[in-house]
């Protein structure tokens, strides 16, 4: 990371592996990872629901771990590997979780959905959850006001079962 001065004030150069692509970025030290993604990089799939780490809508994967990108300053993630919903799957080839969310109708308005899916991938990576109750507990950092929880749990269990059945 290096520091620069510009019209926009002090900026820092950071390097991110973003959805499989190496990116050199100029960011201000106070810019959150969430605002960097949404505002500067146009990756609007990552959502802002509270900006306080209370709702989980901004969940992304950093080095495979799920984190609230609204509570993370972009500059402190220099060198990190970041996966957002856009990097998880595509319309042509949806990720198994994306397909499971569609098949189980695990959303209504869709606003919490990218965060739920990234969180579910993080949950699978952690390898702790096996039972339905464990999934419910460990997915409780992602709020859904439409109340799609039973379907979210079904979708996650569905993919978990396939992964662990391997």
């Amino acid at each position: 990371m290096s520091e620069n001065s510009s019209a926009a004030g002090q900026t820092c150069t950071i390097s991110l592996e973003l959805n499989g692509e190496r990116r050199e970025l100029q960011v201000q030290p106070w810019t959150t990872l969430l605002d960097l993604l949404r505002d500067q990089l146009g990756l609007i799939g990552t959502k802002k629901g509270c900006d306080h780490g209370q709702c989980g809508a901004c969940t992304v994967l950093i080095d495979g771990k799920r984190i609230n990108s609204c509570l993370t300053l972009a500059v402190v993630r220099d060198g990190a590997e970041i996966t957002t919903i856009e990097g998880l799957g595509s319309e042509a080839a949806p990720h198994p979780l994306q397909q499971a969310f569609m098949d189980h109708d695990a959303f209504q308005c869709g606003y919490c959905t990218p965060g739920q899916i990234c969180s579910a991938q993080g949950l699978i990576n952690e390898g702790h959850a096996r039972s339905r109750d464990e999934v419910r507990e460990l997915m409780s950092g992602n709020l859904c006001r439409c109340g799609a929880y039973p379907n979210i749990t079904d979708a996650v269990i569905d993919v978990l079962a396939k992964e662990t059945g391997k």
Binding site: D39, I85, F101, Q108, P114, L143, C146, G147, Y149, I152
Partner: protein, 749 residues
Amino acid sequence: MNIRVETVGIGSAINRVDGLAKVTGRARYAAEYATPGMLYGWIVSSAIAKGRIVAIDETAARAVPGVVEIVTHSNRPHVAWLDRSYPEEAGPPGEPFRALYDDRILFSAQPVALVLAEMLESARDAAALVEVAYDVEPHNTDFDKALAEKFLPKKKRGTFHPPKNRGDAEGAFKDAALKVSADYRLATEHHNPMEMHATTVVWEGDGRITVHDKTQGPQNVQGYLASVFGFAKNNVRVMNPYVGGGFGSGLRPQYAVYLAVMAAKLMERSVRVVMTRQQMFSHVHRPEAVQSVQLGAAADGKLSSIINKATTSTSRFENNMEDVVIWGMMNYACANASGEYTVAPVDTYTSGDMRAPGAATGMTIFEMAIDEMAHAAKIDPLQFRLLNYSDIDQMNETPFTSKALKEAFAEGAAKFGWSKRSAEPRSMTDGKELVGWGVATGMWDAMFSKTSCSAKLSANGHLEVASASSDIGTGTYTVMTQVAADTLGLPVDQITARLGDSSLPASPLQGGSWVAASLGAAVQLACKAVAAKVLKAAAKVEGNPLGDASMDDVDIRQGRLVLKSDQSVSVSFADAMRAAGLDTIEVEETASGGISGMISQMQKSRNTHSAIFAEVKVDEELGVVRVTRIVNAVAAGRIINPKTARSQILGGVVMGIGMALHEETMMDHTLGRFMNHSFAEYHIPVNADVDDIEVIFVDEPDPEVTPLGVKGLGEIGIVGTAAAVANAIFHATGKRIRSLPITIDKLLD
């Protein structure tokens, strides 16, 4: 091919057609439209609840690099003067709030300035540096104190139905063998859709603006903005193709859209304004409520008297009114019933519609009282409801177009295993936990609202149906697609549904559970009109195989017109259009109840019903309640898509669990401010709070209620759910908690 067509029409459980856009993050919401030269607006909220702004010191804020302007009541552009120039489809009577209009403060966290900056962070930083000096006036935010001023507004809200009294309720109550009488409370609740209210205004530079707004009615916002800010209506285009939840919070134009357009007009630039989660607690909310229910019954449990009185909170500047007291009066067979409804003003923003407004409060509380009477009569609470069942609307003395509530009770009870319930409170346990089973009834209106839809069929077989409706997660895109597929026998992937754009054919707000029935009917009409034009074109096909057949003489199947009298004779849409030299066929149709519909509405009641069964487990030492099972059996006419329909009910039930156990916006009366204005402190149910929910749709054919026989599902899932949970808590613990939400402190008290 046959199978495929049959599985995509009305009644099939296809995946949501907008699903792929949502799971891949491609769906774009109001704050997600980037436009060159756009300014970021950050709202500064009032620190006081009532008074006047004396001075605003902008020095420090303006010194922040990137800050371009600070809009306040002192430098705002002109807005309309008269209240009637603030038109909206669902506003209550009164003086609509105008942000930055003058120096008056009407409620805490009212917007007092809008900071505009080149960067988001600059706007946020500068907003914190705006110093506002106030002349503070005394406020009252205490609903209990406001009750002394309760009144029935002279000018009623258009949606309000006054209770109609019957018999002599007071006399019958006096004489009743069994009596229950109690006051019940419901806390203030906030909608809190996951997407915060946000607006991106694109300044097109030629007098036009494109407004990406989080709303439940693009044409409602279009008309409002044009009138308030002096635009020609055609120069304002409001878009909301994706809406991150609403539940009523987007029925009225919110102050975010007002401020964003005001700033865009002042600066002649594009502007984006996004509320913070904290600011989401500074506008519409479900009113705080107190309801007193007195029930009288004969010794055999037959109801003889209903006295139902309720007061809900409103603001000082508008009178929000809800149908709170009528539900029990309509639902139960009882010769004597009276209702009284009033509002009490507090110094907050005006309360407003939140999922099943009125019924979620009044029917839920009434069903808690019914449980008390059943217990007093020593009758199983389900049996008690059947004993006092009515096939007609008792308050209006009209039959229902359909009412399959008995079937809902039967199917719900069977699925839940209700017959195994032991009657005595505290008699069921699971390890250390007390187990309780409760039941309640839900009721909502089956409404129909005039709606238009266009349909455009292309010669390549692609169909587009379009209406200025919204899909706030309700499945409207999918409903439109399925009705069109059903009507014209086309596969789903040949159909595009468009909505969320004020330039499309006229559609009302998305609310009241009327969209599926109303827009569904409009889609069907439009598609039938397309078919009629195809039939006309088919006459040009060589040999005119369909002859002089009328629409009554043909079936529409798989994109073909098929002669009913000889199924081997048919013409494809494509062949007919080619023969007539048509590239496209375009129509627009309007579904409207008309005068006959209005007369029919007076002759018959139109309602959805539900039977909710809940199981709770209570750790009495800790006061912790878990809702382990809910069965909600719903009678709502025809179901267009069982998968998305089930999700609607799940969502209502989950919000009902929130109403029962979690949701409560708490006011600090000294500051006059809602204090738990965050998801950390305003608790909505999380995944771990929601266990097993079973949804049943009982068979309820009803060709009379709406053209498609559809009744709507957006609200019914929440109505009564909290009562089933509260009644289950009584059954588990023997404690009657009459104030929702039933939090740990109340159970341990």
